[in-house]
């Protein structure tokens, strides 16, 4: 692949044509180009461009891969020998804006980020009006193929006026494109995906929903941002952040951000961090320990009482949870923090948050295992603990949606294993979904769906049966054997010292 010289730039001038060749100079935000990744070529969308001493670098999102794999690539990795997909052009004004945008990075050589770029764009007056400032920062998913005009879902011709505010639950675009901020969240397959709810949520509605409950957003204006931190230092590990998190904006300029392992405070300066460590006396999450076994401890931390700590925790977990929203404060949540202990203190491994009073019956809002502790079964313990709390409350519960990809896998595994364990108890001949739900504190819906997903619920000779498939039986046996060798990592309800906290009506009115 070669970098084309400017003489050929004419072929790449922005035009309504969908595909075409591009040069480094004509590549702009929103273009989908082929990029080398791990020895293969993947289609990737350019989300941001910055100028470095050794030439421009591009922030790319690989189409059909999770955003946590988004990265900065040098121009050498972009394969310009293949045609690129140009973003859907809009109006004359938009083109001008794009031109202005393109000019911006070159003028400002110094390490300019997409964030700043897009802000410039949003600042330029466009036909969509002031409210469309969001567009600049929060690109809307779009498809170059003009899919926005899918009849049923597009209410009318005037949608472009409000398009930036309208977000569908399924993340399909409903609105006018803004060419410099396109995001490739939709692909060809999606056209076949049914949209069960099909409802449209405006940004205002979503913010109002979040005001009264919930911690997850489907709103692209809240997500889909360029990652702002480069690297984290936390405890004994260096961690790579996955997503954007609203740490102080100056943090995007440093290579390493220091996080205190205990108070979760953040520093962009090593000296300041070391000074802080000399003074900080916290050695465990600042709450009450409600569970302790040989392996882990759980602490309950009230978002209202420990505002700073819980904010720090949320900032940290936002780095690894795409759909988590930090729009509103932490007051209505309780944080259940799992720690391992050693002589230096109780080290946070993961946590889940839970609404003090969930209108939707969620027993868990956000759940995260820190990346340095992942793939060791901690997530399963966290999930299990959340159901143990629900059992103590005498309620059935389910996690708040949307789940992340890792969340979905974790939950499905927990659900399957829990159900299989119950079903394969000796002497069990028949069970209703309701019984299963009551025994596990899972909702009936989750029970049913897990059975279906694992093809355990079948219709056989005119009757429904639960089939313990060979596979799940084998998996269960393996688990038991492993537990015999390694010891069972389970939550022991007897060690849980916890009563469901009660919040009065007045505290709900005034404190949240």
């Amino acid at each position: 692949m070669g970098v084309r010289d400017s003489g050929e730039a004419a072929t790449g001038t922005p035009d309504p044509v969908e595909r075409g060749f591009a040069t480094l100079n004509t590549i702009r935000i929103g273009v989908k180009a082929m990029v080398q990744k791990d020895g293969e070529i993947r289609k990737a969308e350019i989300l941001s461009i910055r100028q470095r001493k050794d030439g421009p670098s591009f922030y790319v999102h690989y189409v059909d891969f999770n955003k946590r794999l988004d990265e900065w690539v040098s121009s050498a990795r972009i394969d310009l020998s293949q045609e690129v997909e140009w973003p859907q052009p809009e109006k004359a004004e938009k083109k001008k804006a794009a031109a202005a945008n393109k000019a911006a990075p070159s003028k400002n050589i110094k390490n300019q980020r997409a964030r700043a770029d897009s802000r410039d764009v949003s600042g330029t007056p466009d036909a969509l009006g002031g409210k469309n400032l969001n567009v600049g920062k929060a690109p809307r998913p779009s498809k170059a193929g003009g899919k926005e005009n899918r009849g049923a879902e597009t209410p009318g011709g005037d949608t472009s006026l409000f398009g930036s505010e309208r977000v569908s639950a399924v993340g399909t675009p409903k609105a006018a494109e803004s060419e410099d901020v396109d995001m490739p969240d939709v692909d060809g397959k999606e056209e076949d995906v049914p949209t069960p709810g099909g409802e449209l949520i405006t940004r205002e509605e979503e913010i109002e929903r979040l005001r009264t409950g919930g911690s997850m957003t489907q709103n692209p204006t809240e997500i889909h941002r360029v990652r702002n931190l480069t690297r984290l230092q936390m405890g004994k590990y260096d961690v790579e952040p996955w997503y954007f998190s609203p740490y102080p904006d100056s943090f995007s300029e440093v290579d390493l951000v220091y996080i205190d392992e205990f108070c979760l405070s953040y520093f962009d300066n090593q000296r300041a961090f070391e000074r802080h460590r000399a003074k900080c006396t916290l050695v465990h999450p600042p709450g009450n320990e409600i569970y302790r076994d040989d392996y882990v401890s759980f602490f309950e931390v009230d978002g209202r009482r420990q505002r700073t700590w819980c904010r720090n925790l949320c900032l940290l977990s936002k780095l690894f949870l795409d759909h988590k929203t930090l729009y509103y404060d932490v007051d209505p949540f309780l944080f259940y923090c799992m720690c391992t202990r050693d002589e230096t203190g109780c080290h946070l491994v993961g946590y889940f948050s839970k609404e003090k009073d969930s209108a939707e019956g969620y027993n868990l809002a956000c759940i995260m295992t820190l990346p340095q502790y992942q793939r060791r079964g901690f997530g399963r313990l966290l999930i299990s603990f959340s159901y143990e709390l629900s059992k103590r409350e005498g309620k059935l519960g389910s996690p708040e949606k949307p789940l992340s990809d890792l969340g979905l896998l974790g939950y499905r595994q927990y659900w399957r294993e829990t159900l299989v364990e119950l079903l394969s108890e000796p002497g069990r001949e028949a069970m209703s979904e309701n019984e299963l739900a009551v025994l596990t504190s899972m909702t009936e819906k989750d029970v049913h769906e897990t059975l279906v997903v694992c093809s355990m619920l079948r219709y056989h000779k005119g009757n429904w049966v639960i089939v313990l498939t060979d596979y799940v039986v084998e998996e269960h046996k393996k688990r038991l054997e492993k537990e015999k060798v390694k010891g069972a990592r389970k939550i022991d309800p007897a060690r849980l010292q916890w009563k469901p906290p009660v919040f009065t009506a007045s505290s709900r009115t005034w404190n949240w």
Binding site: P246, N269, R271, C280, E289, W309, L326, E433
Partner: protein
């Protein structure tokens, strides 16, 4: 409809959550129809639709559907061990308590001075300390405290410095903010460090030196700024009413009073304890001196009754002396609280007092005049002549009504003795008070009543003299009878008929006399019965105490006796 388990043509029965489903092993049923897979399509993953189709997730889901869970793996960015000097920064200071940890300090409580030095500060501090002698060095902690003071003061003085571009506060501003709470080291170094702080502050366009999160600033751009986080949830406004205001005022006042009481109580307890400590040390001193005396006595071989070695009564009193002034003081606030209520003078009391004063005056004057006139025969009707009742034989008059006086109407305003003409007589409360005081007066001064006397005049005529009747009639309506007539006008007891009668007709007077006599008789009987019952009860009590507890037949008899009466 999707077909399940190979039974394509029939529609499956509806599955309810309560329905019991038999559990079978896979080998007990027919092989799985591939079509079961299609039913998977209906299950929502709960993952955002846009991300559901992501490559790695799809691989994982398909792998687990085929029963190869371990093949499912979603790649994530790597974490590596840091080259941080972990052991230095995280000292092994944690010792796990036996019980579960309970903890409520906040991050701010645990982190000491919120300002943390940077390398830039290090350079400054090094140069700064080089110029100073060893005794007057500025430590890192002092430096941070000072910087923190500047930061906090600037934040307090210019809360919007980051937005409105106000200039860096001057040192004079800083000095004015130094109060008693500011540490000494800050005061000592403030002047020297200020310039450094100012320079750093200028470099950041007067933003805070410590990186901070972006919160709401109330500007329109807030809503779309991704860095603005942790917004407040607007609380519902509670409607303001005067009643609620008064309620809150009352609550606050009470709270304040209670807190002040508590404070005073604590202060007094402290005083008491100080006194007690003094007493104890005094006793100790006494004891020590006595030991000395004892030894001295032994040494000098003095033999007496050792009176000086034990506490004697007067001495004991003295020992208690320091405590004594405390005791009454402890009750002082209580007294103070009560005195308010005691100071509240009742209207009747004031009235009664004034009345008494006037009466006393009059009596004095009368006796004075009598004294003056001693030995003189008064032929004139002097202005200061004794009041009419002295000229008549008061004993000969009998009040027309004695005990049960009719209640005067509450609206009656003609009572000249009342001092409360300015008061709101329509208020039922005052009306009652008025009546009460009036009834009292009537008892004290029967001469104010219409009274009658019968005498035989010349020629054997029977005459009835009336007193006060005319005067009363002149007034608006003092006539008790008429008053009686309108007694219930204000009340709602309409069922009581009012008969228009001539109060001076003989018949009625007769009738009244009879009923009066009857009433008196009844009262006498009742008093007697009461006395009897009382006596009986007493005897009964005596009986009960004499008898074993639990035997109570006499009680019945007493009850019977009581019911008889």
């Amino acid at each position: 409809m999707t077909r399940y388990g190979g039974l394509g043509r029939t529609r499956p029965k509806k599955l309810t959550p309560k329905a019991s489903i038999p559990i079978v092993r896979e080998d007990e049923i027919d092989a799985l129809d591939e079509e079961i897979q299609s039913s998977l399509q209906n299950i929502e993953t709960g993952v955002e639709k846009a991300e559901e189709e992501e490559f790695h997730l799809q691989v994982a889901i398909k792998a687990s559907a085929r029963g190869k869970v371990n093949a499912a793996h979603i790649p994530t960015p790597e974490t590596i061990l840091s080259n941080l000097r972990y052991d230095e920064l995280y000292p092994p200071i944690f010792s796990q308590p036996a019980t579960y940890i309970r903890f409520s300090s906040t991050v701010e409580d645990c982190c000491g001075c919120p300002y943390n030095m940077t390398e830039e500060d290090d350079v400054f501090l090094k140069i700064f300390n080089q110029k100073r002698d060893a005794a007057d060095q500025c430590s890192e902690d002092d430096f941070e405290a000072t910087m923190n003071f500047f930061e906090e003061t600037a934040q307090a003085k210019q809360p919007f410095a980051a937005v409105d571009g106000s200039p860096v506060p001057s040192f004079a501003d800083m000095e004015s903010a130094m109060d008693a709470a500011v540490e000494d080291c800050v005061k000592r170094f403030a002047k020297d460090i200020y310039e450094h702080w100012k320079a750093r502050r200028m470099a950041t366009e007067n933003h805070g030196l410590q990186p901070s999160l972006k919160f709401e600033t109330g500007q329109d751009t807030d809503d779309s700024d991704p860095y603005v986080c942790f917004r407040r949830r607007e609380v519902r406004q509670i409607r303001k009413t005067r009643g609620r205001d008064a309620q809150s005022t009352e609550k606050l006042r009470r709270l304040r009073k209670e807190l002040e009481d508590a404070r005073q109580l604590i202060a007094l307890v402290r005083q008491r304890e100080i006194g007690r400590r003094e007493m104890i040390s005094m006793e100790r001193q006494v004891f020590a001196q006595r030991t000395e005396v004892k030894e001295m006595k032994r040494k000098l071989n003095i033999k007496d009754d050792d009176e000086d070695l034990i506490n004697q009564k007067p001495k004991k009193k003295q020992a208690e002396m320091p405590q004594r002034p405390n005791a009454p003081q402890l009750r002082l606030p209580l007294k103070g609280g009560l005195s308010g209520a005691e100071d509240l003078q009742l209207l009747e009391e004031v009235q009664a007092e004034k009345e008494n004063d006037i009466l006393r005056d009059i009596k004095q004057n009368i006796s004075k005049h009598i004294k003056w006139n001693e030995g003189y025969v008064d032929h004139t009707r002097a202005p200061l002549s004794p009041s009419p009742e002295r000229t008549f034989d008061t004993a000969a008059f009998r009040p027309a009504f004695t005990a049960q006086l009719p209640t005067p109407p509450s609206s009656e305003a003609s009572d000249h003795n009342m001092m409360d003409t300015s008061l709101d007589v329509t208020s039922p409360l005052f009306a009652r008070d008025k009546f009460a005081s009036r009834a009292m007066e009537l008892h004290e001064e029967p001469h104010k009543l219409p009274s009658f006397r019968r005498r035989i005049g010349r020629g054997g005529r029977l005459l009835v003299d009336r007193r006060n009747v005319v005067a009363a009639r002149c007034a608006v309506d003092l006539d008790p009878l008429k008053a009686d007539r309108f007694k219930y006008d204000q009340e709602d007891s309409d069922d009581e008929d009012v008969y228009d009668t001539d109060g001076y007709s003989l018949q009625i007077m007769q009738h009244r006399a009879i009923t009066m006599a009857k009433a008196r008789e009844q009262a006498a009987v009742a008093a007697q019965a009461h006395a009897q019952a009382h006596a009986q009860a007493q005897s009964q009590r005596r009986l009960q105490t004499d008898q074993q507890p639990g035997h109570n037949p006499p009680v019945n008899s007493v009850q019977a006796a009581l019911s008889e009466t």
